[in-house]
Amino acid sequence: MNLESWIMKLNIKYFGMLAELTQCSEETMVVEATTIDELLEQLFDKYPGLQEKDFQVAQDQQIVLKENNITASELALLPPFSGG
């Protein structure tokens, strides 16, 4: 796998307090990034408040570590779960 940065079109979903912060529930972005961390850097630039938030990232509907490579076109930023 090529570890160089890729330019890709991602669909990013935001939930709960994060959707409130970004003021959108999802957006399509063209990013240059290989890892989730690199994507997050770009999101932190766009939404400075995001950096202070506690959240997890899901890729292909599974929680992934931020060091992981981006392998899907749909990612989601999930604040702490509070179901039930």
Binding site: K13, F15, G16, M17, A19, A58, Q61, Q62, A76, L78, P79, P80, F81, S82, G83, G84
Partner: protein, 147 residues
């Protein structure tokens, strides 16, 4: 992907007591069952800084949540000798005093249902991407945190 086997556990609004009663009635034909254990989550009218919570508005990453509910269901059947189980969770607004989570586990004998039900509820709380927005009387809100 278990897309085909995953059920939709979400229900718009509160889960009614009639619905729960009907779910119980449906199990009368399963005469191998000796014990049911039901967990119900109810919205509390907690007071925060002198303001009362009047409702919780639930949102979820629905596809992922349904997949997680499916995984929890599979794991529960693997771990415990249960006959059947059902999970329902509200989406949207649920008023204080109304029910937002309904988990129903049945088995031939009682000890298994106690263990299985607690397992399912804890797994849901930990793994289902569901988010509660606590609404106050004055239309302000805060984000629910599970403890």
């Amino acid at each position: 992907m278990n897309e085909k086997k995953t059920k939709n556990v979400f229900k718009e609004g509160a889960i009614s007591s009639e619905f729960i009663g009907e779910s119980i009635a449906k199990h009368q034909s399963k005469t191998g069952i000796g014990a049911h254990n039901i967990f119900l989550g109810q919205v509390r009218a907690d007071e925060v800084d002198g303001k009362k919570i009047t409702a919780i508005e639930y949102t979820a990453y629905e596809e992922m949540a349904n997949l997680k509910f499916h995984e929890i269901r599979e794991a529960t059947f693997d771990k415990f000798d249960i006959t059947c189980m059902h999970i329902y969770h509200s989406l949207g607004r649920v008023k204080a005093g109304e029910i937002c989570l309904f988990v129903f586990v049945s088995a031939p004998r009682r000890r298994i249902v106690f263990e299985a039900l607690e397992y399912v509820v804890e797994e849901i709380k930990a793994k289902a991407p569901v988010f509660g927005k606590e609404l106050f009387e004055d239309e302000s809100h805060q984000w629910k945190v599970n403890t």
